[in-house]
């Protein structure tokens, strides 16, 4: 099984485990989409801004003495995007409704980020 297959599997399992999630993005820290089920027309931008948000979150954590960054959350009226570091050079982003089971989304997404880390290092 290739790394790409492993990442696609993580993406699918996350969606199956948490039906509330409406999009999963695994992107490089340079903003390139690696594995995703976001619509093609959205994927390019979501990958880039997820990587950017992760970088910015990291800097905020450093400058505000928050410790190792665990999660960046952007909450809008219609949903939220949670972004996790998933290895040294990649991020995992998930889109979920703002009124869903946020606890479960966080738990599963964080776990999926660890799986991605194992695959990508």
């Amino acid at each position: 099984m290739s790394k790409q297959d492993d990442l696609n599997k993580i993406t699918k399992e996350l969606r199956m485990n948490v039906p509330d999630i409406s999009g999963v993005m695994i992107a490089s820290d340079e903003g390139l989409s690696i594995a995703t089920d976001f619509a093609e027309e959205d994927a390019v931008r979501v990958a880039a801004v997820s990587a950017a948000a992760s970088g910015l979150g990291n800097r905020i954590s450093q400058n505000a003495s928050l410790g190792e960054p665990e999660e960046v959350m952007v909450k809008g009226r219609d949903g939220l995007l949670l972004i996790y570091l998933a290895g040294d050079n990649s991020v995992l982003a998930v889109r979920a409704p703002s009124r869903g089971n946020l606890g479960l989304v966080r738990l599963e997404a964080s776990s999926a980020a660890q799986e991605v880390r194992k695959v990508l290092g």
Binding site: E30, G31, L32, R45, A48, A51, G55, L56
Partner: protein, 190 residues
């Protein structure tokens, strides 16, 4: 960074030892142009509100001295790593002082015009030609270093401040540029 930038200039048009020798060989004549160069340069800069706004009221003498130092150092050589690294550093200073590349390019044009016309007047034709060629190659190299270091140092500063690396920033920029190009083409301007 300095060498990386210089190496982007085609070797056949890059400032070379022949150019350096042309300037150094004629430095006695060129040094007599220093007062006019400095005065004319800052008269131009101070006479225009946009470039005038870069400076405080009390710093003209200091800025003039900086230009004098650069001119003397240039004519005396050597054109070593330290010289080119100094030009790269200028790009960093320009970010801080809000001296943009349009201002630098415009004033380089003035320097070339002033020195070229005086070279033609005061030097034998072949020497004038060699000096003018050297000045143009120098201008190209210095502008490359200042403008590229301006941009690259911007990227470094953005990375340090926001955690967004150059490759990611360029990706974000390119995504938007693609949209802008599409808009321009749709509007018949591209």
């Amino acid at each position: 960074m300095t060498n990386e930038i210089i190496e982007q200039i085609p070797e056949c048009v890059r400032f070379n030892d022949e150019d350096a020798q042309a300037l150094i060989r004629n430095k006695d004549v060129l040094l007599t142009l220093e007062d006019g160069l400095v005065e004319g340069f800052y008269n131009s800069v101070y006479s225009y509100s946009v470039t005038r706004a870069v400076f405080t009221d009390d710093e003209r003498a200091a800025r003039e001295q900086t230009l004098r130092d650069w001119y003397r150092r240039t004519l005396n050589g050597p054109f070593d790593d330290a010289y080119w690294q100094w030009q790269t550093f200028v790009g960093l200073v320009h970010i801080k002082r809000k001296v943009n590349n349009a201002m630098v390019s415009g004033m380089w044009g003035w320097i070339l015009t002033y020195l070229s016309s005086n070279a033609l007047e005061h030097l034998e034709a072949n020497e004038a030609k060699a000096v003018i060629k050297a000045l143009h190659s120098l201008q190209a190299a210095v502008m490359a270093l200042i403008s590229e270091s301006y941009q690259r140092n911007m990227f470094v500063a953005v990375d340090k401040a926001s955690g967004i690396k150059e490759a990611l920033l360029m990706r974000l920029v390119n995504i938007e540029i693609d949209g802008m190009l599409d808009d321009a083409r749709a509007n018949g301007t591209g």
